[in-house]
Symmetry: C2
Subunit: 401 residues, 2 copies
């Protein structure tokens, strides 16, 4: 706000990033289209494209089909097969590793189930490094890794990738980023983000939130995470721990929460609340257990119906509060909340009607993730691409591209 305008060189670097982001998020785009969308003239677009082509980030091709007469505008495509990131998703019940090409294409992907219980950092980092080794062994020689991103269910210090707290993983001050960087041995910094924050970013960039500037993403795992986009940008807060909507108190004095408080949204809506209400706690865990309750309710099981209605009501109360606080355009129910929302949509909607201000809920859409179970993984990939999209040439210089 208080800084002066940028220099010509800053503008050029900014524009290189903007152009690259266009083809990264929008796919192959004609020069003519880029000219229109970026509000720059043709020769500037040509120069920017030439720079990005020389750097090996995009290439230009004739379009496959052209409906118009005359000389067709060249199409700029991201070099998806050559330029990629490593994305990791560390959930309570699963580990996922993927190689994701520029443009968001999943080039390779490995997944393993994870046992609950004490979080063993060396073991997890070792398994992810082993997956990475397998994936890298399968790549061609001229490929370039431009970043590493990790999604984790907890509060993360962005500066160094340390997980400050994660009641559900049972860890605090876990040096996840540094340890993973050491095990990977790729000499590329490892960026770590909160799973729900990354889910929010992914759904806004390439999911149900494309084109929206105000979005709340709720992620159910064991607990409830939140990621909030305010006016197009991820809510971070002073230390980067904002968006913990799962620890909003909805029922003061209610069920105990792993965080130490009582009646948090997570305590009333999380996996344990649902399974206990359904009389199923201690049997099965995770998404399968949640799905089993929702399925049983759908088949007419009265106990399961009551449990789902109860949890759906608390979810609706929490979402109504978030609607009043954020006046979002879209609320996305991800992870296990997808199943719960689909099973209890009537309760959720009814509570929003009762408890949210009419103006705050105008135009509100309730959605499940377009990216499905890979929303957080896709967010980890976007986190890894952030540097190269902010300043492509500088980022390449740093990773030796």
């Amino acid at each position: 706000m208080m800084r002066a305008g940028p220099s010509q060189e800053e503008i050029r670097r900014h524009n290189l990033g903007v152009l690259l982001r266009h083809v990264h998020l929008g796919g192959p785009t004609s020069r003519a289209e880029l000219t229109t969308r970026m509000g720059l003239n043709r020769s500037t677009i040509m120069a920017l494209t030439a720079d990005l082509t020389a750097a090996g980030l995009v290439r230009e091709e004739l379009p496959r089909v052209t409906g118009r007469a005359g000389r067709p505008s060249l199409v700029v495509r991201p070099e998806s097969a050559r330029v990629y990131v490593l994305a990791f998703d560390i959930g309570v019940d699963r580990l996922v590793a993927a190689r994701v090409g520029l443009g968001g294409v999943i080039l390779d992907r490995r997944e393993a189930a994870r046992e609950r219980g004490a979080f063993d950092l060396p073991e997890v980092a070792g398994r992810l490094a082993a997956f990475t080794g397998e994936m890298l062994a399968a790549t061609r020689g001229d490929t370039l890794c431009v970043g590493v991103g990790v999604s984790f269910s907890g509060g993360v210090r962005g500066a160094d990738g340390v997980v400050r707290f994660s009641p559900n993983m049972g860890v605090s001050d876990l040096p996840l980023g540094p340890e993973l960087a050491r095990r990977l041995g790729l000499d590329i910094p490892v960026a770590v983000g909160n799973d729900a924050n990354l889910g929010a970013l992914a759904e806004q960039s390439r999911g149900v939130g494309v084109g929206t500037r105000d979005l709340v993403y709720l992620h159910g795992d064991v607990g409830i995470g939140g990621g909030v986009i305010v006016d197009g940008r991820l809510l971070g807060g002073h230390g980067g721990y904002g968006g913990e909507v799962g620890h909003m108190v909805v029922n003061a004095g209610g069920r105990p929460c792993p965080c130490g408080a009582r009646g948090c949204l997570e305590a009333e809506v999380g996996e344990r609340a649902l399974l206990e209400a359904a009389g199923r706690f201690g049997r099965q865990v995770g998404r399968d257990a949640v799905r089993a309750v929702v399925d049983a309710a759908g088949r007419g099981d009265f106990v399961a119906q009551e449990a789902l209605a109860r949890v759906g009501d608390w979810l609706g109360i929490g979402v109504a509060s978030l609607v009043n606080i954020f006046n979002p355009e879209v609320v996305v129910f991800g992870g296990t909340l997808r199943e719960i929302f689909l099973g209890a949509a009537a309760q959720v909607r009814s509570r929003i009607t009762t408890d949210a201000l009419p103006a705050a809920r105008e135009g509100l859409r309730l959605r499940t993730p377009a990216l499905g179970e890979d929303a957080t993984l896709a967010g980890a990939a976007e986190l890894a691409f952030a540097q190269v999209l902010a300043d492509p040439l500088d980022a390449l210089a740093r990773v030796g591209g």
Copy 2:
């Protein structure tokens, strides 16, 4: 994000606004200081200052005192006596009108008590227009009004200044901006904002939040309003109705709220909750009534102490949730919440310790407004100055300056 860089002329206009904002918020500033702060060279600063001087927005003077040898750098001052805005604060219990000079100086101010009951728009607009007439009659001939801003306790549609909802004023779809513009007859658009949003802006620009980028401002009147600054910018939401933290449900099934829900923060912490708990509802109203309970508690009145502790506990629960959601650097307790916070700080702090995540409350400061009861009025003035600070020459052209 997806737009290309600005043109030279856009940069110049931006820089004019940045320089004007520096002296508006920071007071008289030397050219040398502006050069450093804006990161521009001396000749650019001279040219920008010359433009703003020619427009009558600033003037340059020799500094009064100089500790250094050599030729002193000229000081740039806002033309506070010449360039001003009209600011109005429409509260439940009072009406305030002020003439506020560039730089934030209150040049003239009128205030009247307001009776509660049906909101009579023609009467309120008439009284504010009469105050304005008195103030304008007392101005010199070469002054220039560059904007009109209004603070109102309700949800406001920014585009046209219509109050969409205000359960506590008992109005909806009230054409406040247009009616006031008509009555003032100044041919200047009237910008209307939510009181707590404006309080947040004012405290961040010139109050306890200077230098902070993440701030939550809570305003107690009859109800509880909220204004949230996220990464330096006011949280608006999709339709501009965001920040209604008073309608976050903290006690599901609890006390009825004028909004139609139950257990909202406002229902548990608002004026009526406190007065009922203290056995004083129906006697006195407003700030004096709240102050009387806090004073009685301080003198050892057991019923008042219990009432204050109860309300303070709910306030603490609500603030703890907001800390988890926003990870703010500062929470400001304005309006009647100032008294309640000062009387129940121990409860509030204790709840935050119990219910907020340690990482989210790191470095958190709880404060009362530096601008006191004029926080919302000061915010209305800032709203009125927004155009001239965004693009000084364009704004002057529009108001005929």
